[in-house]
C-alpha cells in the first residue's frame, strides 16, 4: 500500500511543477509568464474581469414588487414562485384580508409541513441546505462557491474544452480556431458540471441549478454568441439542483443526478424523454461516474451508501460505507476497477469488477469487499522554510485515460498556512497486482490552490493533467511516459521530450521497416 511518506518532498514555495519526464517531476521557478505564451490553451481568468451578479433574484424581488396587489394576485404569484408552501405562507401572512378559519387552517398545514420536512431533514441533513450550498457541498470542485472556474471539460476526441465561469457563462476554447464561443442562457445558473457528448462534435451537457441544458455548438459556426435556441432544456419535476451528469461512452444516453431526488434520471437527449430510476435509500444522488467501457455507473448518495449500477438491465449493487458518503470515484480505462474515496477517511479504496459486459448480469460475480490501495493520512515534510503537512481528506480523483497516472486532489486546511490543498499524483500499475506507486506533488504558483483537475482524454505522449487554480488560471501539466502496453521494456523509463524527437511508436515502425529492407 502506498502512503504519502514515500513521496518526494513538495517543492519550495515559488517553484511550480512543469512536467514529468524521465520518471521525475520537473519544476521551474516563476517562469509562468513564459509558459503561458508557449501554450495557447493556458488561460487566465482574473476574478476582476468577470461581471458578477451583484444580487440574487430573490433579494431584488422585494425592491421591485408592488405590494399593493390584491390577495388573489399575490396568491397566484406565490403559487407560481413557491408552490403549495408559498401559497400557504402567503395566506398565513396576510391574515388581515382572509377569513380567520382559512388563515388558521393554512397556518396549521404549514406547521405540519415544516414538522414533516424537519423530520426529513433530520434523516437527511442535506435537504435543509439551499441549492447553491448543496452544489458546493457535493461538487467535485474544491470550494466551488468561491471558484472562478466552476467546471471544466475536455472534448473526448478533439483538443477543445469548455470552461464554466463564476458569472454563469461557458466559454469554449479550440486551439485550431480563433473563435471562442460564449454560451449564456437564462436558465444557466450555478453550473455544477459540464461534459461533452462522446461520438459527437457539438453537444455539450451542462448541469444547472434548475435543469439540464444540452448545447449544440456547431464547430464550423463563426458565431461567438450562439443563441439560446441552440440549447435543449431538459427538466424533470423534482430533479434539481443537478450536481452531476455523465454521458454514456457510446454517446446515446445521459444520466443526471440531484441530491434532492432519490431517482437518477436517464435521458434520451435527442428524444427529450427520461426514465427515472428510483431507489429510495440514501436520500438523493450526488455524484455519477460512468465507466469508460460503459458497463457500470457509480452513483453516490448523500448518506453513507453508494451504488454501482449495471447498465444493461439497470440494476444496482448497494455499497454501504462505514464512515461517510462516497466523495469521489473514478474508473480504470477497461472499466474493471473502481477507485473511490469516502468522506472522513484518508484512504483510497479499490473495487474490482470481473464481469465483462457480455455476460448476463445474473452471472457477474461482483466484488465482495473494497480494498484499501493508498493511505493519504497527514505526513509532515521538513523543509528549510518550515514544516509542510500534506494529506488528509480527498476532494476528487482523476485517472488518466491510459490508466497510468492517478491524480488526487487533497483538501488541505484553508485555515492553516502550512497545510495547503495539493495534488498528489500516483503511478498506477495493474500487473501483476494492482498497486499505486508514488510519483510526486503538483504545485502551482505561490498562493494558488488547485481547485479542479482533469486529464486530457487523448494525449499521445503520456498523460496531460489540466488544473484549474484558485487564481483563475488553467494550466496543463504533461506527464511524458511510455505506456506499458506499447512497450514492455520501457515500463519505468520515459521517452525523451516529444518536441525533440518523434513518438516511440514511430520508432518501432521504422526499425521494422529497416529490417524488412535489409
Amino acid at each position: 500500500m502506498c502512503s504519502l511518506a514515500l513521496f518526494p518532498p513538495p517543492l519550495p514555495p515559488g517553484q511550480t511543477t512543469m512536467c514529468e519526464s524521465n520518471n521525475e517531476l520537473l519544476s521551474g521557478a516563476n517562469n509562468s509568464e513564459a509558459r503561458q505564451d508557449s501554450g495557447p490553451l493556458s488561460l487566465h481568468f482574473p476574478r476582476e474581469s468577470l461581471k458578477l451578479h451583484s444580487r440574487t433574484e430573490s433579494s431584488s424581488k422585494a425592491a421591485f414588487l408592488d405590494h399593493s396587489e390584491t390577495l388573489w394576485m399575490r396568491s397566484a404569484a406565490a403559487w407560481r414562485d413557491g408552490g403549495f408552501t408559498g401559497l400557504l405562507n402567503e395566506i398565513t401572512t396576510s391574515h388581515a384580508e382572509v377569513p380567520k378559519w382559512l388563515s388558521v387552517t393554512s397556518g396549521c398545514i404549514l406547521a405540519l409541513l415544516r414538522w414533516v420536512s424537519s423530520f426529513h431533514g433530520s434523516l437527511y441533513p442535506h435537504v435543509t441546505l439551499s441549492s447553491e450550498d448543496m452544489i458546493a457541498e457535493f461538487s467535485q470542485v474544491l470550494n466551488w462557491s468561491d471558484c472562478v472556474v466552476r467546471a471544466f471539460a475536455w472534448h473526448p476526441h478533439t483538443d477543445k474544452f469548455a470552461v464554466a465561469l463564476l458569472d454563469d457563462s461557458i466559454k469554449i476554447y479550440n486551439p485550431k480556431s480563433a473563435i471562442t464561443p460564449t454560451l449564456k442562457h437564462r436558465l444557466q445558473r450555478n453550473v455544477a458540471a459540464v461534459q461533452w457528448k462522446p461520438l459527437c462534435a457539438s453537444a455539450l451537457a451542462v448541469a444547472c441549478q434548475n435543469c439540464l441544458l444540452v448545447w449544440n455548438v456547431d464547430p464550423c459556426s463563426l458565431s461567438t454568441r450562439p443563441s439560446s435556441s441552440c440549447a435543449q432544456v431538459l427538466s424533470h419535476p423534482g430533479h434539481s439542483p443537478v450536481t452531476s451528469i455523465a454521458w454514456s461512452p457510446s454517446g446515446s444516453l445521459l444520466v443526471s443526478a440531484s441530491p434532492l431526488d432519490t431517482s437518477m434520471t436517464v435521458w434520451d437527449v435527442a428524444a427529450e424523454s427520461c426514465v427515472p430510476l428510483q431507489r429510495v435509500g440514501g436520500g438523493g444522488v450526488t455524484f455519477l461516474s460512468w465507466s469508460p467501457d460503459g458497463s457500470h455507473i457509480l452513483a453516490s448518495t448523500p448518506s453513507a451508501l453508494f451504488r454501482v449500477w449495471e447498465t444493461r438491465m439497470w440494476t444496482c449493487e448497494r455499497w454501504p460505507c462505514i464512515k461517510g458518503r462516497c466523495q469521489s470515484g473514478c474508473w480504470s480505462p477497461d472499466g474493471s476497477r473502481l477507485l473511490f474515496t469516502v468522506q472522513g477517511e484518508m484512504v483510497i479504496y479499490a473495487l474490482t469488477f470481473s464481469g465483462s459486459p457480455g455476460v448476463p448480469p445474473g452471472l457477474v460475480k461482483g466484488p465482495q469487499i473494497a480494498v484499501v490501495v493508498a493511505d493519504l493520512s497527514e505526513t509532515t515534510f521538513n523543509s528549510p522554510d518550515g514544516d509542510i503537512i500534506v494529506g488528509g481528506e480527498i476532494q476528487s480523483l482523476s485517472w488518466d485515460p491510459r490508466g497510468e497516472r492517478l491524480a488526487v486532489l487533497l483538501k488541505g486546511d484553508p485555515e492553516a498556512a502550512n497545510r495547503p490543498a495539493i495534488i498528489a499524483v500516483f503511478k498506477t500499475r495493474a500487473n501483476p497486482v494492482f498497486e499505486l506507486l508514488p510519483c510526486g506533488f503538483v504545485q502551482g504558483e505561490l498562493g494558488a490552490e488547485p481547485r479542479l483537475l482533469q486529464f486530457h482524454p487523448n494525449f499521445q505522449h503520456g498523460a496531460l493533467l489540466t488544473v484549474c487554480w484558485s487564481s483563475g488560471k488553467i494550466t496543463h501539466i504533461p506527464f511524458y511516459f511510455l505506456s506499458s502496453d506499447v512497450s514492455q521494456v520501457g515500463l519505468s523509463g520515459s521517452p525523451p521530450l516529444p518536441h525533440l524527437q518523434e513518438r516511440p511508436a514511430d520508432f518501432s515502425n521504422q526499425s521494422l521497416f529497416t529490417e524488412l529492407i535489409s
Binding site: 464547430p219 454517446g251 444516453l253 428524444a271 426514465v275 439497470w314
Partner: protein, 669 residues
C-alpha cells in the same frame, strides 16, 4: 392482415403468451386495486373505525365477488382489445379530416362501442360497490297522488352513463393520442422494476384524466341528460320521482359527495385499464433473444438473419432489430456468430443477410426522404408535362397539394422501390413477379453483395448514387414501372400511417380522364378553399407529415446502431474480414441518409419540437423519433470514423462522400 399474422409462428408462440401473461397479471392486480377503491369510496373522516369494518364486510360480500368477476371479464376484454389494436408504427393523421376518418373507421367504432359497454359494466360495479343511494336502478317512490310505484334512481343512472362516457372518451382520446402505439425504451429494465417505476405516473394520469372526463360528463349530462333518462323510463316503465330534485340541474350537481364518487369511480376504471395497457406494453416490448445460427435446420425460420428479412408482423421485425442492436452492443459471443462463415462453403451468410437487411432499411428511408423532399420542392409548379410517367408525378404532386397533403408521401414512394421492405410486404412477397423485372438498381450495393464484391465497390456505377444528386434520373427511372405497379398496390389495403380511404384509384385511369379529373379537382379545390370549415378540416397539421415520415424510425435507429456497433467490433473481432467487403456500402448508405436527413431538417416545421405534457399515458416517443434518428445517425458515423480513423482513406467512395467523411474525421459535423 389477420390471416397472415395468425399464421406467423412468432405471434402464436411469443406474442400471445406475452399478452396472456400481461392480462393474467392485470387480473391478479385487480383485488388490491378494488380494495383500495372500496376503502376510498367508503372513507369518512368522522368514523374511521366504522369505515374499516364496513369495508371488510363489503369485501367479503357475494355482491362484490360477483362484480369482481365482471371486472375481471372487463380487464380480460381490455387486454384482448389491446392485443388486437396495438401497433408498433403509430398512425399519424396529417390533417383534421384524416383524424376524423380514423375516428369513424369501422374498426375504431367497434373499439369505441366495446369500451363504452365495458364502461357501463364498470360503472355498474362501482355503483354497487359504493352502495347506499347508488345501488339499484329502480327505487320505490310515491307518485303525485300517493300511489307507491317503481321510480327511477337517477344516481344509479348517472353512474352507468358516467362509466359509458369515460369509456368512450378513453377510446376516442386513445385514437387522438395514439395510445395503442407500443414504443420501445432505450433503457432496458426488468419487468417488475419497470412496472414499479411507471406506477405513480399511471396513477397520476388516471386521476387527472378522470377529473377532466367527469367535468365533461357533468356538462354533457346537464344539457343532454334528459334524453337517456326519459328513454330508460319509457323502456323499463319506471317513473320519475318528482319529490327528489333532478340531477341535471345546477343544484343537482353541486353535490360534492356524488362528484367525489364519480371521480373516484372514473379513476378506478381508468386505472385498471391503464394498468392493463402498461403491463401489455411492458410484456410485449420485452427483449426476445433470437438465435443467430439455427441448432437444427428445421428451426432456421426462427433465427435472426431469417427473421430480419421477413417483413410480415412488424412486431417481429422490431423485436429482431432490437435484439440485433443489443447483441451488437453487449454480446461478443453472439457477434462472433454474426461474423462467422458457413461451415460447408465458407460464406458469410449471416453477416450478408444482416447487413443487407439493415442497409435495405436505410436505403428505404433515404429514398422516402428524397421523394418527400421532391414532393415538397415541386409543390405548386411543373403541372403539365408530356410523358406519362411525368404526368403521374405531377398528378400526385398536385393531389397532395390539393388536399393539403392528406396522405404522407409514402404510398407514392412505396411503389418506386421494389427492393424496399415495405413495398415487398404490400406487393405480396419478396419475389413479386410484377416488380422484379422492373427493379431499377440491380447492381446497387443492396441487391447482390456477392456480385459487388467481385466487381469491387465502385460507387459511380451504382445508379442511385447519381440519383440522389440529380432528381431527374431519380424521378424517371423508377417511375417507368410505377404506373403499372400502382393498381396492384392500391387494390390491396395499405396498413400505413395513411390508412385513410383514399381516392387514389383516380390516378391510374387513362390520361385524358386523369387530366379532366384533375381540372375538376382544381376547380373544386378553389371552391372549397374559400370555406372556413373545409379549410379547417383539410389544413395540414404542422410537422405531422414529418412525423409520419419518420413513424417507423425506431427500426432505422436500431439498424444504424447495430451496423455501427458491428463495424466497430469488426475492427478487432472479425477474423475473416467479412465486414470489410460491405464497409463501403455501409458508409455510403449512411452518408446518403445523412444528406437526406440534413435536407429534411431544413424544411419548415421539421425541426420544431412537439409540445409535451407529462400528465398523459400518451407515448411521446413517436413525435421525437426524427431527432433521435438524426442523433443516432451522427453517432453511428462517428463511431465508425473514430474506430477506423485514417484507415477509411483506403475505402473507395465518391469524392463528395470522402469530403463529408473527412469532416467527420476532423469532428466538424
Amino acid at each position: 392482415m389477420f390471416p397472415s399474422e395468425t399464421s406467423c409462428w412468432f405471434i402464436r408462440k411469443v406474442i400471445w403468451w406475452r399478452a396472456a401473461a400481461s392480462i393474467a397479471w392485470s387480473v391478479l392486480l385487480l383485488p388490491p386495486t378494488t380494495a383500495v377503491f372500496v376503502f376510498l369510496s367508503k372513507f369518512s373522516f368522522l368514523h374511521p373505525i366504522q369505515t374499516i369494518s364496513e369495508c371488510l364486510s363489503l369485501l367479503m360480500s357475494s355482491c362484490l365477488i360477483f362484480s369482481f368477476i365482471l371486472l375481471g371479464g372487463v380487464v380480460i376484454m381490455v387486454g384482448f382489445l389491446n392485443l388486437e389494436y396495438y401497433t408498433v408504427i403509430p398512425t399519424i393523421a396529417c390533417s383534421k379530416i384524416a383524424l376524423l376518418g380514423q375516428l369513424l373507421h369501422p374498426r375504431q367504432v367497434v373499439n369505441s362501442l366495446a369500451h363504452c359497454l365495458m364502461g357501463v359494466i364498470v360503472g355498474w360495479c362501482c355503483a354497487v360497490t359504493v352502495g347506499n343511494r347508488y345501488e339499484t336502478l329502480g327505487c320505490p317512490c310515491k307518485s303525485s297522488d300517493g300511489v307507491p310505484q317503481m321510480g327511477l334512481n337517477e344516481y344509479h343512472l348517472v353512474f352507468l352513463l358516467a362509466g359509458a362516457f369515460v369509456g368512450f372518451s378513453h377510446s376516442l382520446l386513445g385514437v387522438i393520442h395514439n395510445i395503442n402505439y407500443v414504443s420501445f425504451h432505450a433503457v432496458q429494465q426488468y419487468k417488475y422494476l419497470h412496472f414499479k417505476g411507471s406506477l405513480p405516473l399511471v396513477l397520476k394520469c388516471s386521476a387527472i384524466q378522470a377529473f377532466y372526463s367527469i367535468r365533461n360528463f357533468t356538462v354533457a349530462y346537464f344539457f343532454l341528460g334528459y334524453i337517456p333518462k326519459t328513454w330508460i323510463c319509457k323502456t323499463l316503465n319506471l317513473h320519475l320521482d318528482s319529490s327528489v330534485h333532478r340531477l341535471d340541474s345546477i343544484t343537482g350537481f353541486v353535490d360534492l359527495s356524488l362528484l367525489y364518487h364519480l371521480w373516484i369511480s372514473a379513476t378506478f376504471l381508468l386505472f385498471t385499464w391503464y394498468i392493463t395497457l402498461l403491463l401489455f406494453r411492458i410484456f410485449v416490448t420485452e427483449v426476445y433473444s433470437f438465435p443467430v445460427q439455427p441448432t437444427f435446420t428445421e428451426d432456421s425460420y426462427q433465427c435472426l438473419p431469417r427473421v430480419l428479412i421477413d417483413q410480415q408482423p412488424m412486431i417481429l421485425k422490431f423485436l429482431a432489430l432490437q435484439d440485433l442492436a443489443l447483441l451488437s452492443k453487449h454480446s461478443p459471443s453472439r457477434r462472433g456468430e454474426v461474423f462467422s462463415l458457413s461451415q460447408p462453403g465458407g460464406h458469410a451468410h449471416n453477416w450478408n443477410t444482416v447487413s443487407r437487411a439493415c442497409l435495405t432499411l436505410l436505403a428505404d428511408l433515404t429514398q422516402r426522404l428524397v421523394a418527400y423532399h421532391e414532393t415538397v420542392a415541386t409543390n405548386g409548379r411543373a403541372k403539365s408535362l408530356s410523358s406519362g410517367s411525368e404526368r403521374k408525378i405531377s398528378s400526385d404532386t398536385s393531389f397532395t397539394s390539393g388536399t393539403e397533403d392528406l396522405f404522407s408521401p409514402r404510398p407514392t414512394f412505396l411503389t418506386k422501390t421494389p427492393t424496399s421492405v415495405f413495398a415487398r410486404s404490400f406487393a405480396g412477397g419478396p419475389h413479386s413477379p410484377l416488380t422484379a423485372p422492373f427493379t431499377p438498381d440491380l447492381d446497387s450495393p443492396f441487391s447482390s453483395p456477392t456480385l459487388r464484391r467481385l466487381t469491387g465497390p465502385v460507387d459511380q456505377c451504382s445508379p442511385w448514387h447519381g440519383s440522389v444528386q440529380s432528381p431527374h434520373i431519380m424521378r424517371r427511372v423508377p417511375k417507368l414501372w410505377s404506373t403499372s405497379a400502382e393498381s396492384q398496390v392500391s387494390s390491396s389495403p395499405p396498413r400505413s400511417p395513411a390508412s385513410v380511404p383514399s381516392p387514389k384509384q383516380e390516378s391510374t385511369k387513362p390520361s385524358f380522364l386523369a387530366q379532366f379529373l384533375q381540372n375538376r379537382k382544381e376547380q373544386v379545390k378553389n371552391f372549397m378553399a374559400k370555406r372556413v370549415l373545409i379549410m379547417y378540416l383539410f389544413n395540414k397539421l404542422p410537422e405531422a407529415s414529418s412525423q409520419a415520415l419518420f413513424a417507423d424510425s425506431q427500426a432505422h435507429i436500431w439498424a444504424l446502431e447495430a451496423l455501427s456497433y458491428l463495424v466497430q467490433a469488426s475492427f478487432t473481432e472479425d477474423q475473416f474480414g467479412v465486414v470489410q467487403t460491405t464497409l463501403p456500402s455501409i458508409l455510403s448508405s449512411m452518408l446518403h441518409l445523412q444528406e437526406a436527413v440534413d435536407r429534411h431538417f431544413k424544411l419548415p416545421h421539421a425541426s420544431s419540437k412537439p409540445v409535451r405534457s407529462a400528465n398523459s399515458m400518451e407515448d411521446f416517443t413517436y413525435k421525437t423519433l426524427r431527432f433521435a434518428l438524426r442523433a443516432t445517425l451522427k453517432t453511428a458515423i462517428y463511431r465508425i470514423t473514430t474506430t477506423f480513423g485514417s484507415h477509411l482513406n483506403a475505402v473507395q467512395m465518391s469524392a463528395e462522400h470522402r469530403k463529408r467523411l473527412q469532416q467527420f474525421l476532423e469532428f466538424k459535423e
